[in-house]
């Protein structure tokens, strides 16, 4: 990056650090922070949407749909996260490739599972072998987002279902007595009051989602944990910038990053909490000093 970095061997002190911290490898580390943030901010809305879908399914009048809702939340919530994270991307990837293989290469007669090997024709590969590496990485990232969304969506569904049930019945009955339709009751009364009860649970989920992001590393995505371990490990003179074991400093940086993120989140949720309670006759609202 700087001109003086051309020959790292002659560097010392601050210059050495300036050059060391601006190697392309370090920029991959810095970029991975963005990857983690992207994961959180893409996953969170999907989780919320899945949560609503799951909650509606569980509350549906149509029994089979209710069964689907309950099956989704109980199954996902009952299986250890880590098993799910390992299972979903592999299963999804192989299922997609299998279907593509059947459709795109009907002429291939050999079985897809040959002994230990999972072999699909070249055209069925997802992404294609000829695709550049970044497409493979984005594909892996999308699979990870799906895995995270499915898992956290189940918890969100439970939280939202509970919150919807917690809104006092009298409120809804009054709304109906005023002649509101079901839809109007939901939009004007039920949904706005639901947030008060859902928010503590959802904020918990958000925190857990933030803290679960190092699982990306398990899915083969080079996230901040991967780079901290890789960069922090002791380096011999095969590398341009040899150094002893510095993992503790790199992990300290991750610690600071996660603490900052969760601290900001708490501020955000405190603000949201005040906001959703505004004008609502709940105990929380009176404590918060707003409302009536």
């Amino acid at each position: 990056m700087f001109e003086m970095c051309a020959d790292p061997k002659v560097l010392a002190g601050l210059d050495w650090f300036a050059c060391y911290l601006t190697t392309p490898k370090h920029f991959q580390f810095y970029f991975s922070f963005l990857v983690v943030l992207t994961l959180i901010f893409i996953t969170a809305p999907i989780v919320l949407a899945l949560g609503f879908l799951g909650a509606f399914a569980r509350r549906a009048a149509f029994a089979p749909l209710r069964l689907v809702g309950h099956a989704y939340t109980s199954m996902v919530r009952g299986v250890p996260d880590i098993v799910f994270f390992l299972f979903v991307p592999i299963a999804l990837d192989q299922a997609l490739e299998y279907v593509r293989h059947r459709v795109l290469c009907p002429e291939v007669t050999e079985p897809v599972y040959r002994g230990n090997d999972f072999v699909v024709c070249a055209a069925a590969k997802l992404p294609l072998s000829s695709a550049p590496q970044w497409i493979h990485e984005v594909y892996g990232f999308v699979l990870a987002i799906i895995a995270f969304s499915v898992v956290f969506g189940a918890f969100a569904a439970n939280t939202i279902d509970g919150a919807l049930s917690a809104v006092p019945r009298a409120q809804l009955e009054t709304a109906r007595a005023y002649g509101m339709t079901e839809r109007q009751t939901f939009r004007r009364i039920h949904l706005p009051q639901m947030w008060v009860y859902a928010l503590p649970g959802l904020s918990n989920l958000w925190m857990i989602l933030i803290k679960a992001t190092p699982l990306l590393f398990l899915l083969g995505i080079t996230d901040i944990v991967y780079w901290a371990r890789e960069l922090g490990g002791s380096k011999t003179s095969f590398f341009e910038y040899p150094h002893p074991d510095w993992r503790v400093w790199y992990f300290l940086a991750l610690l600071a990053f996660y603490l900052l993120l969760t601290w900001l989140s708490e501020k955000g949720f405190a603000w949201l909490n005040v906001r959703v309670r505004r004008g609502q006759a709940t105990i929380g609202a009176e404590v918060a000093g707003v409302g009536r």
């Binding site: 490898k25 230990n116 999972f118 072998s129 550049p132 890789e230 002791s234 011999t236 003179s237």
Partner: protein, 241 residues
């Protein structure tokens, strides 16, 4: 005229397909210098990178390097995430049950113990750090010593430095430079142990055509001395083959 155009088109298409090389994805760990590591540019580097690129050139493939954790490197080959493994992987009977290997491109090598400078040879019967799923960890598991496994090689050495393990057992070629540059903090202890059948390229059993091509390419590089020169460059070993 029309025939001419068609003939020209046919040649153009066939020529095009001849140039459109098959893409082979090369899996490696990127944490086992000098075999393979991520250099300061963030690229995969090392003996296997140089050799693999050369082999692809000879075999007529376009190669793309992919890094993958050591622990899952065989399962992910089998499920088709990449097509080869070049990760300092020794050819063993156990691995041959799952995958195929080319002939070795690195001769059977010594594994060695490294401990802190003050230690004596008896530490090799104590707590020994080794990387998970390696021939070294299998060897320690069979022996009287207590095995402590780690996900990456660097952590095995760190475990000795911070006292968690009494010694580390790993490829001597991996440990050599670490000991040389430890300012006397680390030293080799005990006897070297000869393990494995040399390092080869791992491929799926169903990929016989590709394996044969790489095999032929390795034979060629062994024959013309290129491979020996590469091994001397990266490992400082003369006339390996």
């Amino acid at each position: 005229m029309r025939k001419l155009v068609i003939a020209a088109l046919v040649t153009a298409v066939s020529a095009g397909s001849a140039f459109a090389q098959q893409v082979i994805r090369m899996g490696t760990e990127g944490a086992y210098e000098p075999y393979n590591f991520i250099n300061d540019k963030g690229e995969i580097d090392g003996f296997e990178r140089e050799l693999g690129d050369k082999l692809c050139e000879i075999a007529g493939y376009t190669c793309e390097w992919v890094k993958n954790d050591w622990d899952t490197i065989i399962p992910n080959l089998l499920s088709g995430n990449y097509d080869t493994i070049m990760a300092g992987m020794s050819i063993t009977d156990e691995r041959k049950e799952k995958i195929d290997f080319t002939q070795n491109y690195f001769p059977p090598a010594a594994s060695a113990y490294v401990a802190l400078a003050g230690a004596d040879d008896s530490v090799i019967n104590g707590n020994i750090a080794a990387q998970v799923n390696t021939i070294q960890s299998a060897y320690i598991a069979e022996s009287d010593a207590t095995l402590i496994e780690f996900a990456i090689a660097d952590e095995t050495v760190a475990a000795v430095r911070n006292g968690e393990a009494d010694a580390v057992f790993a490829d001597k070629d991996y440990l050599q430079k670490i000991v040389d540059e430890s300012n006397g903090e680390l030293k080799f202890v005990g006897e070297d142990v000869q393990l494995g059948g040399g390092v080869g390229m791992g491929v799926r059993k169903s990929d016989t055509e590709m394996r044969d091509k790489f095999d032929a390419a390795i034979t060629q590089l062994k024959g013309d001395g290129t491979l020996n020169a590469m091994i001397e460059k990266w490992f400082n070993i003369k006339d390996a083959f």
